[in-house]
């Protein structure tokens, strides 16, 4: 039934923009009409009328099994539901690179999406298909990482600043002298290169800081956990650790090894923030750089606005904040954002004002329309 409402809305709502590819439509009018009647007969007459203005949203994500990405998708579903004008969210969610994502985007176009929220696997490779989508009147919003297609809207955290601000805090903490570990993300992915660029910018200002190891965690917990345990066991001098968001494993490894904590930089993940609060008395010094996963929901809000002819700039950059447990203000901030019930690997910034309109509970429920 949902499927038919979706089709129905698409035909009625988007017919103007899609006429060229809709030559086969006449043949199916009868089917659709029957489906609409069925919807009405099932007591959904109100839905059928409302469906007139409802949109279909496609989501493309190519990194699965990652808490942050899951939260991003949940925020899209929650925003879709809260908006009241989305009939269906279609997920194209699998591990892959640009070729797989291009295929997914083409399929989402074909499945009748009015807006597509994409976490891009490449800055440039998706441009031709984004152009095709735009030509069909589909609003494409890239979240988390940027695309270079001028047709797309881009809503991201400033990843260069994320790398720089966190690293500056760490180097400041070490008084500009010491050996640090830079735990990166996935080699060859834009967000990782951007953060590394920011980290390097900070490094240039502190000549006394040396990077003793630079492992790629693949943004995977088990990998990162093994890497930090190996580093501790190697007996190398480590005065501080910067992570690209796989953070909680670092203090954990130090605790398991019965070694004193070293200053650690992570992201605004619930579990890490819990550690910063709970283990401060045990000597853990650290800071969380914000990287809200709710960029997904915010991206959808922008897309829905554009579909309703409300203008937005094509580039929206969120500046990260750094919350450290060394200052009173930072502690107050950390306390206010920490949520006992939230998944430890979810980002605590569950909302992005003024874009998202759902409640945190709605996002945690992870239910679409």
């Amino acid at each position: 039934m949902t499927r038919f409402t979706g089709l129905f809305s698409r035909r009625r709502g988007r017919l103007k923009r899609n006429t060229s590819s809709r030559e086969g439509t006449m043949r199916h009018i009868a089917t659709i009409a029957a489906a609409a009647l069925a919807v009405a007969a099932l007591g959904g007459s109100h839905d059928a009328v409302a469906a007139d203005k409802k949109f279909v949203v496609g989501v493309s994500n190519t990194l699965i099994g990652n808490g942050w990405r899951e939260e991003m998708i949940c925020s899209i579903k929650a925003q879709a539901k809260a908006s009241g004008i989305v009939s269906k969210v279609i997920l194209a969610n699998r591990n892959g690179g640009p070729p797989e994502q291009i295929a997914d985007l083409r399929n989402l176009i074909s499945a009748g999406a009015n807006a597509i929220i994409v976490n891009p696997s490449s800055r440039d490779a998706l441009n031709p298909v984004i152009k095709q989508a735009a030509a069909k009147g589909i609003v494409v919003v890239a979240v988390d990482q940027a695309v270079s297609a001028p047709e797309a809207y881009v809503l991201t955290n400033d990843q260069v600043a994320y790398g720089r601000l966190g690293a500056m805090w760490l180097f400041e903490q070490l008084h500009g002298k010491g050996d640090v570990v830079e735990m990166r993300g996935i080699d060859g992915v834009p967000a990782d290169s951007d953060r590394h660029q920011g980290f390097t910018e900070a490094l240039q200002k502190y000549p006394g800081i040396h990077v003793v190891a630079m492992p790629f965690t693949g943004w995977a917990l088990n990998t990162a956990s093994k890497q930090i345990r190996d580093l501790i066991a190697s007996g190398k001098q480590i005065d501080g650790v910067w992570t690209s968001g796989i953070d909680a494993v670092v203090p954990e490894a130090y605790q398991t090894a019965h070694k004193p904590f070293v200053p650690t930089v992570g992201a605004d993940n619930n579990g890490f923030i819990g550690q910063l609060l709970d283990w401060k008395s045990a000597g853990l010094v650290g800071a969380a750089a914000t990287n809200p996963a709710s960029v997904g929901g915010a991206g959808l809000a922008v897309a829905l606005d554009v579909l309703q002819h409300k203008a937005h700039p094509h580039l929206i950059k969120l500046t990260p904040e750094v919350w450290s447990n060394t200052t009173d203000a930072g502690m107050a901030q950390l306390k206010s954002v920490h949520q006992e019930k939230l998944d430890p690997f979810y980002s605590v910034a569950t909302e992005i004002k003024p874009y998202t309109t759902y409640t945190t509970a709605q996002m945690v429920a992870c239910e679409g329309p």
Binding site: P99, A111, A125, G188
Partner: protein, 318 residues
Amino acid sequence: MTAALLRRHATLLVMPLLVAAFLAVTVAIHPDFGAFDVQSLALGALPLALAAAAQTVVVISGGIDLSVGSLMAVANVLAASTMQHAGFGGALLIAALILLGGALAGAVNGAVLVFSRVPDVVVTLAAGFIWGGIALLILEQPGGGAPQGFLDLAGGTLGGAWLPNALVLLVVVVAAVWLPVRHSRLGLTLYAIGSDRTAAFRSGVGVDRTRLIAYVVGGVFSALGGLALTMTTGIGSPLSGTYYTLSGLAAVVVGGVSLTGGRGGMAGPMFAAYILTLIPTDLIFLNIDPNYGQVIQGTLIVLVVMGGGLATLLRTRA
């Protein structure tokens, strides 16, 4: 006589029917399925089909190549980083050089495993890691480009909207590389060493030489796969090959090529690549989590292998 022919070419009969069945299901769940979708399918299947072709040659000869995906990535980033400012002619020249490089890379794989006697799995697994690293050294992050004319080799629709270039290109290049091999003495020896290496040796087949050539042909197909990635994405991406080693192997198995060697053909895996590309598409149309695609793919492989085993069993009893 006809029965024997049918049996021999069973996959040639079954696979198109299977593709047709999958297409029918797709049209049933998504009546709007049109030229745009046919093009999506052909574009999506092209690199996978070429990865499967690379694997097919090696598997028929009784080996296995776990470096296919990484070699594709190297070809992909090499093409994208050198073609960026080239014209169409220059791009074709670069493509030819890359194919030569692919053949060389295959020859290195083959030579190492023939002379060292280290098992194929070990040598090609190690080679896979090496190529993966080299791809990242050539291009640290996605970038580069290729002239539009080169991209249109796969992306265009010269033969009308319903006949995408990606499909024509696949048929042409696979036929151009495989048919001369298949219908020569070399083809016969490939199957011979795949089905029984000792018997082939005793019949005077140069086993080492043939194994090496299988990897050379495989290397050419891998390089073609990498070029296809450049054509379909327009850029070089050092991690792009990751999925093609195992997906290609899956297409080989679904396509009716025996993993123990010596049995199967090239057409089966090509059709299988189309089927494996259709599965995630259908799941998007049905709005089911595409992660089930892997479950379905795995189930399909088991069913196909079991079906193949059952057919063999019935044949020996009859």
